[in-house]
Structure formats: C-alpha cells, structure tokens
Amino acid sequence: MIRLIPRSLGNRLLVALAIAGLAIFVLHVVTELRDEITDEVDLMDDLLEIDIDRIVAGSSAGPPVTVSERVRESYRGADDRGFFLATAAGETLVGVNAALLPERPTLTTGVTHEWLASFSTPSGTMWAAAEEVRLGNTAVWVFVMRRHAGEHGFYVAAVDELMESVFTTTAPSVVLMLVLSLVIVRISLRPLRRVAAEAHAITGRQSAGRLREDGLPTEIRSLVQAINEALERLDRSLSFQREFTEDVAHELRTPLSILTLQLDQWPNDVAAGQLKRDVLGLIRFVEQLLEAAQIDALQIRLDETADLDAIARDRVAELAPLALHAGKQLTFESHGALPTRGNVEAIGRALRNLIENALKASPAGETVIVRAGPGAVLTVSDHGPGVDPRVRHDLVARFWQRDRHRPGAGLGLAIVKKTVEAHGGSLGLEDNRPRGAVFSLRFPPA
C-alpha cells in the first residue's frame, strides 16, 4: 500500500511542494481561461495570432511568395474570414478575401511588428491583425481578418494559450522548483542526520554523552537542547541510583563485620555453621551489588595499561590458598599475553569472579587452570559439570544461578560481562574437554 503521508520529512516536504506546484499550475490555467472567456479583445487577439501562425507555416518564401493550397482552401468561400500577404511597400502578394479589411493601416517595417484593430461594418464588427514576418530573406506583412471567434474559437484559443504559456513557462518552473526543493531539503536536513548519528553513538555507559548544539538551525537546536537536558536529568538520576547503591553497600559493610566477628566467637555447632554460611551469602551479595554499581559507573581511562599476565598471576596467588583449603588446585599458565588498556582492579575482579565460579563448579581434587594469552586474552578452565547450551544465554543475566541453593547472588557473570565490555572486549564460553567449561575474557590489545 502506498502511504499517503510519507515517513521521511524530506519526502513530506516534497509532496507538499508538488501539491503547491500543481495548485499554482491549475490557478494559472484557470486565470488564462477566464481571460479568454471574459475579454473579447484577448480572445480575438489570440485567434488572429493563431491564424497568422497557420498561414506563415503554410507559406513558402519563393520567389514568388506562395501560400499552400490547403490554407487558401480553408478561407475560400468564407465571407467572415480572410487573409493576405503584403510587401513592406504595401503591395499585395497573395491572399483570399483580402477585401474584408475595410481600411489598410500604414505600417512601417522595422518599427511596428504587430497590429490589431476592430472595425465597425454594416454586417458587424470586423477584427483584423497584422504581423511582420520573415519568409526567407523577404520581410512580409501577414494580414488576417475575422468577424467572430467561430464555433470552436474559444477552445482553439484556450488550448493554444495553455500550450504556449502554461506548458512552456509554468510547468518547467514548477518542475525546476521541485528539483531545487529536493536539493534544498536534503541540505537542510543534514544537521538532523548528524544529530541522529550522534544520538546513536551515545551508550548507557558514557555519562558525558551529549549531542552537539553548534551549527544547528534554531528549530533543530531547541529539540537537541531539550534532548540534552533530558539526558542530563537521566544521568543525574542514574548516578544518584549508583551512588545510593554504593552507599547502601558501604553502610552494610560495618554491620556485616560486626555480625561476622560476633559469629566467630560462637561455639562451632551446626546452627552457628548454618548462620555463618548465611552471613557469607549475604556478604557476597552486598559485594556484588557494590561491584555492579561500580562497574556501571566505570570509565575506562585509555592511558591505563593493564598487564594481563601480572593481573592473572596476582589473582591466582590471591585465590590459591582458598582453592587449597577446598582441596582443589589452582594453576597459572603464561602464554605471553599482550597488554590491554583498562582498569587493573576491575579486570582483576572480573577474573576473580570467573576463578571463584570455576572453583565452586570443580569437584575436590580437580584443577582450575588460569591462562594469560596468547593475545590479550585471559581464560579460566575447569573440569566441573560444564554449562548446558540451553542456559548459556541466561547465564549472564543478573540473578541467574545454576544452583539456587548456593550462596552468592548470581550477579557475578553479569558483572564480568559488563567489565569486559566496558573495556571494549567480550566474554566467551566454550566447552572444556572431556568436560567442564572454559570462560574467556578477550580484550582489544593496547
């Protein structure tokens, strides 16, 4: 289906202009026709001119000057129309019903080119016109006479007039106007396209994302200003949210410390053990909440160089005692990792998340291997149960957990993904052989 109102502003303007052009065209036609109807002089002038044109078209320069039989035949026998061709000196060359002109005017070649007159005769008004034309090298005067417009005179004159003025002048003007409009509209909409491209480039992460206001026409600028103000408000409410989350998490740390230390003093029975696990889960949750809030606000400074090899080594050293306590092995392999640009602490936390997950998933006695490189890549492979392909997509969704009964908020992978994406990298997941999962953090090389 053709849409009556186009989507594009440019096309809308074009349609509007086309309609306007058509209206001008119609108005012009109507005006012309009205002149023909209301003004007899105008009508007769037009008709006589058409007669002259026809006669000239049917004439040959000779010598002697002749008029075609067809033209002469159309005048022969008529008592209300006539014509003749005369030299500049006034000598009649050829003609039919030349006597219908009651009185010959004195015309000077080179001074008058056109002449129109009406004469009152006993049998009514006689209209006459003359025009100086060139036939070959000879200048001749063409005289035509007509008593009335005739049966189709009005239409003949109207069509001729329309052909001459409307189609030769108005129509090309309208078309030219449309073409120019197309160009102007395209040029005028250029700032709008620029603004759209800029708006596309704004991501949720960069809080400083604004649309440029310079060089915009005032109409667009006020829209862009309004959008920028809205972005500003959004930023403020987002950063308020982040700060609130961070504050809450910070505030929770001291009471959680008290709870932990208090529990440390309890006798080690089953109830205390359960309570300790609950508190640990709570602590992990608060930590992840905080990490999630911080990662939302994370701005990667491009001048920071992160040595992935050193980061992995440090995190393995940090978590190795934990692994040993759980009866598992944690090892590191360096394959000449390339450095990347980013936040060392944030990348380290993301890697720690992956290592902690891998340790949780591994049965006792198994080894989790952390590899740095080759390339700007960190991988963590385990020999746990692996990840069901059906849930891979959900894996990074916030609060998703494979085992709902384990402590931990399930925010971990979402934070990891956000961190690596904030660095322009990606989080990958593959199967380990013969079983288990390999998570990878890929970064753009520095």
């Binding site: 910070h250 440390d264 003093q265 005692p321 602490e345 952390v370």
Partner: protein, 223 residues
C-alpha cells in the same frame, strides 16, 4: 605486642579488640583521629589498624605526617571502602596493607601477623608456623623442638615462606631472595631448593605443608 585500633563504631571496635586480645595482642582503641594522634604520641605501638571513615577527619590524614616523620610503624587500613581506586590510593598513602570490611577474625589476625612478621617488626625475629620455629638472629630452625640443619638457600626460602605464611610467595620473590642479580639460575634451580626443603621438613615430621601453585609460586600452610 601492642597495637592501636582506630575505629569509630564502638561495637565493631569492641569485637575486633576482643578477638585481637584473645590472640595475644595488647589493644588500645581510639574512636577519633584526635584521640589516635594523642595515643600515638604517648605510647609505642607495633601496629596501627586504621579505619578511613572517621567522624572528625579522614583516617588517611594520619598516614602522611606519620610517614613524613619517618615512622616505620606498620599500618593496616581496615575500611568499608572497597572501590576500584580506594585500595591503590590507600597503599599509595603509605599503608602497608588494606583490608575491606566485612572480614573474619582469622583474616584480620593473619594480616596483622603478616605485617608483624616482616623483617624488623615485632614478630620478625622469631617466625613460627605450626611446629616450625625459625630464629632469624640465631639462624636456627627447629621442628617440634628438634634443631634442623638447613642449607643457606633452604633457610632463606623457609624464612621467606614463614614471613608470608598462608600467602603465595611469587617465584620471582624467591629467586631474588635466594640468588643475587648476576647469578645465572637454571630453570629448575628453585624447584630443587623447594624440593630439598620439603623433604627435610617431612623427614622431621612437620605439620606444615609447602604447596606449589603452578605458574605462580609457593605457599606454606600451617594446620
């Protein structure tokens, strides 16, 4: 061992103090920075536990003048602030370690002991773990009271592992401690030293374990 605990939350301070006292530390507590300053001026402490968010001023403002005056007092920052940059900032200001709340008592004690086990610190002379005792001055090692005759490199390695008990000692640190810069080290030289020390300790019937964290370093664990 006397330590100063600067913490404005009274309940948390009391719990930390009781845990530390139970582990054999003598603990003084300050709730404000002004309090802490006067305490530092009248008594000699072996360790400072410093909270950053204090009611009167930032706890870190105590650090700069302390270090500027040339004090080598070990400082452990204990804070609720664990932002991406906070840890780095805290260490840059002259803190020796940084512990983010919440923590378990065992973790706090381990961190305190690790700082005190550094050379020149309170626990830096006699290092113990399980049934192993190493006297850095007398250059003696005993396992369950029986003196052990260790080679120079094995002794240095054990000292290094004891000073960072429960933590992974990077292989590079081991290399630097055991060999001088201009010495060529064969790829498995460190492995050989570790293996010899491990055998000696096992032969002596020790309760401690030396773990190898492949690709990173070594770790001494006491039961």
């Amino acid at each position: 061992m006397r330590l100063l605990l600067v913490e404005d939350n009274a309940r948390l301070a009391a719990l930390m103090a009781s845990g530390l006292t139970g582990a054999g530390f003598v603990v003084d507590t300050s709730a404000t920075l002004a309090d802490a300053k006067s305490a530092l001026s009248v008594a000699d402490y072996d360790l400072l536990l410093l909270d950053i968010g204090l009611p009167d001023r930032e706890g870190t403002s105590l650090l700069r003048p302390l270090r500027a005056a040339g004090h080598h007092l070990p400082v452990l920052i204990v804070t609720a602030r664990g932002g991406l940059q906070d840890r780095v900032d805290g260490l840059d200001l002259g803190a020796d370690d940084y512990l983010v709340k919440p923590f378990e008592m065992a973790e706090l004690l381990a961190r305190c002991r690790a700082l005190l086990r550094r050379p020149g610190q309170y626990l830096g002379v006699q290092l113990t773990a399980g049934d192993v005792l190493l006297d850095t001055v007398a250059h003696r090692v005993t396992v369950a009271g029986h003196e052990q005759d260790l080679g120079r490199r094995e002794f240095a390695l054990l000292e290094l592992l004891l000073r960072r008990l429960g933590q992974v000692v990077p292989r590079q640190s081991v290399e630097q401690a055991l060999y001088s810069f201009d010495q060529d080290i064969s790829p498995n030289a460190i492995e050989a030293v570790v293996s010899r020390l491990r055998k000696r300790l096992v032969a002596a019937g020790t309760t401690v374990t030396i773990h190898t964290v492949r690709g990173v370093g070594y770790l001494l664990e006491a039961p």
